[in-house]
Amino acid sequence: MSDSKAIAIRTENLVHTVNTSAGDLSILKGIDMEIKEGESVAIVGASGSGKSTLLGLIAGLDVCSQGEAYIYDAALSRLDEEQRAKLRGQYVGFVFQSFHLLPSLSALENVMLPAELSGDLKAREKAEGFLKQVGLSHRVGHYPRQLSGGEQQRVAIARAFASAPKILFADEPTGNLDAETGNVISDLIFDLNRSLGTTLVMVTHDATLAKRCERQLIMSAGRLSEAE
């Protein structure tokens, strides 16, 4: 890993607490980390250890209780929701465990969505290109309910890369798929990641998948440590 690379994600003493009926619950207890541009990082840990919360905070989906998270040089807690949304549109792509495709839109329209939201006039050509890259050029007009789980995740991946994100966040991307399909999907994510030079941050339970990342960070009881 070259030191000249810019830091894509950085956190400083990141703390997150939520109010529950039983009182305040501390989920993240002071996380400090850096992820450089182009790196692939897996965050692993037991259920309830705070992986998804961390992902949400560093992706700008939520605001931390204390400390700070940065995407490039942007301090996320100092931005309002409008600015964070713009930043997500510009820098960030997501792949989710349960695909989260819009059921009323076809595969092509789902992939076009990020570009359409940002007002890109070439949304259709770009989307068609990415669907081709994920091997679904023959399924462009199909709706999510007409696609298998693996196909739906491929559409989700095409959608995530369609906005040319600098960082791709993946939350258990193979969690809802059988092993064989899961392998195909993970290959696809890593291939695109490499070819487009995207930074990859992946939350997963799957040790094999985690090992394919350059770094593995272990989340345990709200604290983060680097795997040896």
């Binding site: 998804s52 919360t53 992902l55 949400g56 992706a59 989906l61 939520d62 929701e81 409008e82 949304a85 713009k86 997500r88 549109g89 510009q90 960030v92 997501f94 989710f96 989260h100 819009l102 059921p103 009323s104 839109l105 329209e109 969505l113 990020p114 359409e116 939201l117 940002s118 959608r159 906005s163 939350d171």
Partner: protein
């Protein structure tokens, strides 16, 4: 905008957006349909009244009107005409006759038409202008009395006129239906030639105006301060205050009832929006992760709501317009009377209703989408958070504001809200007990009965809500059906087939038998013949009106004018003795109940009558209820024969003359020039038209209410559809057959419908009691049909729509459903 519309259109396939749009269409259509229809009703009434007045506005005076008034009206762009009328002797070689003569300018009448004929006692044809200079039109009665025909000359004052037509209807004389004196019409140019008008002559002048309502209003405002005590402004509205007020009340009633349709549609909108929002929270969260800013989401939602508003308003307006046009068309065929075209001025009411419904029921829910956190894509939310109270407040304020606009006041809306609250509490209480009982009697899940009744209890809150909605809808349907049948039966009883349309009076004793013979020959139905003398009530229990009611205070009608008095051997069928005994052979007066009530007269009180200069004092021996609408002669007081036999009497009767007999009847009547004839057929026609219109409007309303109720049912079932789908899938996975699930749904919806119908029948019976007693002034009656109709209607409607809306519970494969969980 493009993206917003794409997402919206794609959602149409899913029922929520469709429900939302249909509810919007129904809201707009209901209010548009009612308001346009009522507008036509009002316009029709005003046009008819204007025909009676021959103008849209008239200034009447006992002195010649200032020229500047005419100039002002002409300059402002109003059409004007003049009329003067007076009583004078008309001469021929054969003799002379007192008659009522009108002189009219060329433009007269501005509204309505003359009806004239070349045949004596003909039924007439239309003429839109009056007689030319030198001509006179005379009524057939006058022609008979003067023994003149068309082409003969008659003399009015100092001028000679040629008879050119027989006058059948004079549109400007508001008393034309009651005209007793024979009539003649001449041209205004000939007025001076007659030299009839001298200082001190009793002449009435009228300046008639017609045209744009605003110009007329301006003229009225200009002229009113200038009017002295001998001058009056008359307009169609003021002229028929009674009917006008009735139509206004009908409009308030219909719109208020329509409000329930709007509220139902609003509830459907809220339910559909709620489901839409629930289903889209995750989607909006995903869009936010993809870079959609809150402003972008707001813009997408706004465009979607605006599109629904535009679609709902346009289709709703079109539907509302079409439905009222269809009803007007069917009325036209039924009554051979074309209604005036509706004004477009009331369209805003429908659009406002749609907008308010959207803002009150839809917008607050939709704003939840703006606040959904993008984090929810990673950490699914629990229950949808929301400021529920605020949502209810929004909905309530919106609907209350509409009710206030519809009824132009606060009283009726407050009463309606209170009624809904009372019914809600009643329904919640009864429903809770019924659902609990249903659960108590069943345990286990082996039969459709058990599963269905258990579901009623399990979804207690939503089922109580549905129960309330269905109860309100069925109740309103039952009430409106009851009101409509009351109206119709009231109308039929008032104006039965063959109801009298002419009164004959001033009939001499010696003419009675001959006239009866003529009626029999012409097969004309006649009512009883009553002798009649004029008299005045001077005292009650030896006390005069001033002493009884205060000097200068308003007196009861019975003591404020001369009364027609009669005697009879037997009471007419439209008289019912309430107190005392009617015995024509014994002394004592029989008094009509309302007159007795107004004058505080009770059985045994003494009434003193002054007849022909002689006083008679007798006790009240019976009090009668009289059906004044029977179109038969009736009297406040019936006297013993012993009194009336002292006086020369003439007779009165009423007859029904069918259209085909009219000409023969009028010709026959020319042999009885002294008999006065009063044609009330036009009046009956007007009443029939209004009742038919209101009755049709109720039918229109019923259609809209049932449609919006059905929409609420569909929306509320869809709101619990996800839960039902899960349950259905689980039951089927555990081995339940489709028919068992179908049976369970049938039980659930069936009971819901029957319960709602039962409670609705109870509430409708109570409401109809109030309406019958206080509004229609009828005796209260029990409606056994309601108790049958309510539960049956409830069962049929709720189960059929329920099974239809929930059909996917049976269709969707359990595997697919469980995968989606």
């Amino acid at each position: 905008m493009k993206l917003a519309l794409k997402l919206l259109f794609r959602e149409l396939r899913n029922g929520d957006v469709m429900t939302l749009a249909l509810a919007m269409v129904l809201s707009v259509a209901t209010v548009t349909g009612i308001s346009l229809f009522i507008d036509r009703l009002q316009a029709s009434f005003e046009l008819q009244s204007a025909t009676l007045l021959a103008a849209d506005g008239v200034v009447r005076s006992s002195k010649k009107l200032p020229n500047e008034w005419q100039l002002k009206a002409d300059e402002s762009g109003l059409n004007t005409a003049n009329r003067a009328w007076f009583s004078t002797m008309v001469f021929t070689e054969a003799g002379l006759q007192l008659s009522q003569v009108s002189a009219v300018t060329k433009a007269y009448p501005l509204r309505g038409e003359y009806l004239i004929d070349t045949q004596l006692f003909g039924t007439g044809f239309v003429s839109d202008r009056g007689p030319a200079a030198g001509e006179v039109w005379v009524s057939s009665r006058l022609a008979s009395l003067l023994e003149v025909e068309i082409g003969d000359d008659i003399q009015i004052g100092e001028a000679d006129f040629r008879v050119t037509s027989y006058l059948v209807r004079d549109p400007g004389s508001s008393a034309s239906a009651f005209a007793i004196a024979p009539r003649a019409v001449i041209n205004w140019q000939d007025l001076d030639k007659t030299q009839v008008i001298q200082p001190g002559s009793r002449v009435r002048y009228a300046l008639l105006m017609a045209g744009d309502a605003d110009l007329l209003q301006e003229m009225q405002e200009w002229v009113t301060p200038k009017l002295n005590e001998n001058q009056q402004w008359r307009s169609p509205r003021a002229g028929g205050r009674g009917i006008g007020a009735t139509i206004n009340r009908a409009e308030s009633f219909l719109l208020l009832a329509g409000t329930l349709a709007v509220v139902m549609a609003g509830v459907a909108m809220a339910l559909a929006s709620n489901r839409y929002v629930k289903r889209h929270l995750a989607q909006v969260a995903v869009m936010k992760t993809l870079g959609a800013t809150p402003k972008k989401i707001a813009s997408i939602l706004t465009w979607q709501l605006v599109s629904i508003f535009i679609f709902g308003s346009l289709v709703g307006l079109l539907l509302g317009w079409s439905v009222q046009a269809f009803i007007a068309y069917s009325l036209e065929a039924l009554l051979s009377t074309a209604l005036p075209e509706p004004g477009l001025g009331k369209i805003w009411l429908g659009v406002l209703t749609g907008f308010t419904s959207l803002v009150a029921f839809c917008l607050p829910l939709m704003t939840r989408l703006l606040t959904v956190s993008p984090l929810s894509v990673l950490q699914p939310m629990g229950r949808l958070e929301g400021k529920t109270l605020l949502l209810y407040v929004f909905g309530f304020i919106g609907m209350f504001a509409l009710m206030v606009i519809y009824t132009k006041g606060f009283l009726l809306p407050i009463l309606m809200v209170l009624s809904i609250l009372i019914v809600s509490v009643l329904v919640a209480g009864i429903g809770f007990v019924l659902f609990k009982l249903g659960r108590q009697f069943t345990s286990g899940a082996t039969s459709g009965w058990q599963i269905g009744l258990a579901a009623l209890h399990r979804r207690l809150q939503s089922n109580l809500f549905q129960l309330l909605v269905f109860t309100l809808i069925i109740m309103l349907v039952l009430i409106l059906t009851g009101v409509r049948s009351n109206l119709i039966s009231d109308w039929q009883s008032q104006l039965p087939e063959g109801a009298a349309n002419h009164y004959l009076f001033n009939i001499q004793q010696e003419d009675v038998a001959r006239l009866q013979g003529m009626m029999s020959t012409l097969e004309i139905e006649e009512s009883d013949w009553y002798p009649m003398v004029l008299g005045r009530v001077t005292q009650i229990n030896q006390k005069g009106a001033d002493e009884l009611f205060g000097k200068g205070k308003e007196k009861p009608e019975m003591m404020s004018r001369e009364l027609n008095l009669t005697w009879t051997d037997t009471l007419g069928v439209d008289n019912e003795i309430l107190e005392g005994v009617f015995n024509p052979l014994e002394n004592g007066f029989s008094i009509e109940s309302k007159a007795a009530e107004e004058a505080n007269v009770e059985l045994g009180d003494e009434i003193t009558l002054l007849i022909g200069g002689r006083e008679y004092t007798q006790k009240v021996t019976s009090i009668r209820r009289v059906d004044w609408s029977s179109m038969r002669p009736n009297f406040y007081l019936i006297l013993p024969k012993t009194i009336l036999s002292d006086f020369p009497t003439n007779y009165i009767t009423s007859v029904h003359v069918a259209n085909e007999h009219k000409q023969a009847f009028y010709q026959g009547m020319s042999d009885y020039p002294t008999v006065s004839l009063l044609n009330v057929g036009d009046l009956i026609g007007q009443i029939q038209l209004i009742i038919a219109q209101v009755s049709q409007a109720i039918q229109l309303l019923l259609g809209f209410i049932v449609a919006s109720g059905a929409l609420v049912l569909v929306a509320s079932i869809r709101a619990s559809l996800d839960e039902r789908l899960e349950e259905g899938a689980l039951l089927r996975t555990l081995g339940a057959s489709k028919s068992l699930i179908q049976q369970a749904m049938l039980v659930e919806f069936g009971f819901l419908g029957v319960f709602a119908g039962f409670i609705a029948a109870l509430a409708a019976e109570a409401c109809l009691f109030g309406l019958q007693v206080y509004l229609f002034e009828l005796s209260a009656s029990f409606h056994p049909m309601l108790w049958l109709l309510g539960p049956v209607l409830g069962f049929v409607i709720v189960t059929s729509i329920g099974l239809f809306a929930g059909r996917s519970v049976l269709k969707v494969a359990p595997m697919r459903m469980l995968q989606a969980l």
